[in-house]
């Protein structure tokens, strides 16, 4: 290796490491401060994560207990899981069926219908917020589980992504299944879904995180705490003045950890999908 190559390599690693440091610093701060005592956040401080003062003297796990029980984060967590699970089941079902029809079946009005659905991607949430609230109110869904699940049980982006993939599946496979007497529903269940693990998990991650992170809509349609999700609980904790820094950070950690765990498990595939589709809700 020449000297120039070595310098280049060292510079590359140094800059990338700096980037990684900046990306992780706020999360390290979150971890450190979620375990401090309230006085420690004033007396025991340092902007440098390599200094001992950045960290608590001894970790206060009781902060998490206090948020989980005292601030109801345990209940909110459960709500978010239920909302996310139902939404996901719904959106996967409707999107797989519709994407299969748009990719593989012939029917009058196909192109027009598909473009119409894609138009919904251009409309900002701010525009749909008020009329959607009135619709949900008319349906009697305010404060109900249906209000935060049903409207998200279909999505044009998921549908679009799946259609792109289904189109590449070999037609022969489906023709053969049809000759054997398989219905279209049978083809979807037995052939299309098993062959689509990668795009399905991408869509699942996307829809699950957007349900988990949703804030504006649940703020509007859930006024009682009955189904209050974690995102709303956390936003309320943060904008109120009652909670001290460690409790806020413990609350934020509870919201982050599940997403981070899923990300770590499927890290390779998720980075790959983000890099190629730009996944954005």
């Amino acid at each position: 290796m020449t000297k120039a190559d070595r310098t280049k390599r060292i510079t590359r690693y140094a800059v990338l490491a700096l980037g990684a440091f900046v990306a992780l610093l706020p999360l390290v701060y979150l971890a450190a401060n979620s375990l401090k005592t309230a006085p420690e956040t004033v007396t025991r401080i340092s902007p440098n994560p390599f200094a001992p003062e950045f960290w608590p003297e001894s970790p206060q796990w009781s902060n998490f207990v206090s948020v989980w029980e005292g601030d109801q984060f345990g209940a909110y967590f459960l709500h978010s899981l239920i909302i996310g699970g139902l939404t996901l089941a719904g959106v996967l079902t409707t999107s797989v069926l519709a994407a299969y029809a748009f990719a593989k079946l012939r029917f009058p009005g196909k192109e027009g219908l598909f473009s119409l659905l894609l138009v919904s991607l251009m409309v900002p949430e701010t525009v749909t917020l008020i009329p959607d609230f009135l619709v949900v109110k008319a349906l009697g869904w305010v404060d109900q589980l249906a209000a935060v699940t049903v409207p998200f049980m279909a999505g044009a982006f998921s549908l679009f992504l799946l259609r792109q993939f289904f189109r590449q599946l070999p037609q022969d496979l489906m023709d053969m299944a049809q000759i054997d007497g398989c219905s279209h529903l049978g083809i979807v269940v037995r052939i299309v879904v098993p062959l689509s693990a990668a795009p399905l998990s991408t869509v699942a991650f996307l829809d699950l995180t957007s349900s988990w992170n949703a804030l504006q809509w649940p703020l509007v349609v859930l006024q009682s705490p009955d189904w209050r999700p974690l995102s709303v609980g956390l936003a309320r904790l943060v904008s109120g003045s009652g909670a001290d820094l460690p409790l806020r950070m413990a609350g934020a950690a509870i919201a982050i950890v599940p997403i981070l765990v899923v990300f770590l498990i499927a890290q390779k595939q998720i980075t790959e999908s983000i890099a190629s589709y730009g996944l954005k809700t």
Partner: protein, 379 residues
């Protein structure tokens, strides 16, 4: 009953497959656009009130002349852009004249709208513009820089890619909750400790509605209240320090994400192109300017469109980072409209505002697409 033909059966199956998704998207995604337009014509406060025609829009713009002035200004500027492109000199001069006329019509109308119409709406529009300008170009530049370093195969590449995208993946409400504390006004906050280490004063950060330039150079706004000068000097003062904090948060979220997408684009440039350029004696800077940037332009275009439209949609982080004390210094249109609807319960007026937002978003998308057709290189 006659048995259905195969084609009819297939179509029937297809419709039944599409139906559930179609109904949900229609009811909650498409129908609301028309419904919102209807709501905007009513004095609707929680319950539907009386039909008031365009009064909500009149309240927003202050007067019919202002609304027409703004439309004419935008139209003239669009005409100028069209006339100035690749046509003979005479056209270009005409284009320049159009641009001047459009610009001054727009400047006059906006100033008079600030005086007679909804000044808060204009302030949040200003926040949106600063927010776009502060985030998108920097994210593009830093993202591209990191992407260039992610090029090729080397040990730890996937680990870096994964770490860079973590800020984008974690819930915005939670990461914003962290930044809300990092940029707290307390002397022991992270941002203040860093500034103290450099010998600086304690700052109020997210609670500071004063503009960046007024803090740095003691600049002040001028002009008589309601005058053209008074309105435009609010622009000249730059974004508030609070908004700068929000912008920094966005860099943190998006730089790695941009880097990943850019790196993907870089990966699809065939190495032979660089090989050929090297043989022709091109240096690294020439290759960046003549090969990398042009071949990456579809990615850059995609990210710019996404970023600018994103500033009109952003909500979660801004809701957490905002401090009511700043009087909306960090509220872009999306957040401002939300509060008109949710806290003031002015459904009709908020719907009118959201229609203007929709027009802005569609107009920008269209303009960027027009621009893209001309400047983006697709192979």
């Amino acid at each position: 009953m006659k048995p259905l033909r195969a084609a009819q059966r297939e179509a029937l199956t297809a419709y039944s497959f599409v139906l559930p998704a179609f109904v949900i998207i229609l009811v909650f995604g498409l129908f609301p656009v028309g419904f919102s337009l209807v709501i905007s014509l009513f004095n609707w406060r929680i319950k539907s009130g009386t039909f008031i025609g365009l009064d909500n829009y009149l309240e927003l713009f202050g007067s019919l002349e202002n609304a027409f002035g703004i439309l004419a200004g935008v139209g003239l500027l669009a005409g100028a852009a069209w006339a100035g492109k690749g046509k003979p000199l005479a056209w270009k001069i005409a284009g320049l004249a159009l641009a001047l006329a459009g610009g001054s019509a727009l400047a006059e109308s906006l100033a008079s709208m600030a005086a007679a119409g909804d000044a808060d709406f204009l302030r949040s529009l200003q926040v949106t513009v600063w927010f776009s300008l502060g985030t998108v170009p920097i994210q593009l530049a830093l993202g591209l820089g990191l992407a260039l370093l992610l090029r090729g195969k080397f040990r730890g590449r996937q680990a870096f890619r994964a770490v860079f995208v973590v800020p984008f993946v974690v819930p915005a409400v939670a990461s914003a909750a962290v930044f809300e504390r990092l940029f707290s006004l307390r002397p022991e906050s992270f941002a203040n400790q860093v500034v103290h280490a450099w010998g600086g004063p304690t700052l109020a950060w997210l609670r500071e509605p004063k503009s960046l330039f007024s803090l740095l150079w003691n600049a002040t706004s001028g002009g008589a209240p309601g005058s053209l000068e008074a309105y435009w000097s609010t622009w000249a003062l730059g974004p508030s320090l609070a908004l700068v904090c929000v912008v920094i948060y966005n860099w943190w979220v998006y730089v790695g994400y941009y880097a990943l997408i850019f790196a993907n684009g870089l990966g699809s440039i065939p190495p032979q192109v660089y090989e050929a350029a090297r043989l022709d004696g091109a240096g690294p800077l020439t290759m960046l300017r003549r090969i990398t940037l042009p071949l990456l332009s579809p990615v850059t275009y995609f990210l710019t469109l996404l970023g600018v439209i994103g500033t009109f949609k952003a909500f979660n982080s801004l809701y957490v980072l905002r401090d009511p004390v700043t009087g909306g210094a960090t509220d872009p249109l999306s957040v401002f409209i939300f509060f008109v609807f949710f806290h003031q319960s002015r459904f009709g007026y908020a719907a009118a505002l959201s229609m203007v937002l929709l027009a802005l978003v569609l107009g920008l998308t269209w303009a960027q697409r027009k621009f893209g057709e001309r400047h983006v290189f697709y192979d």
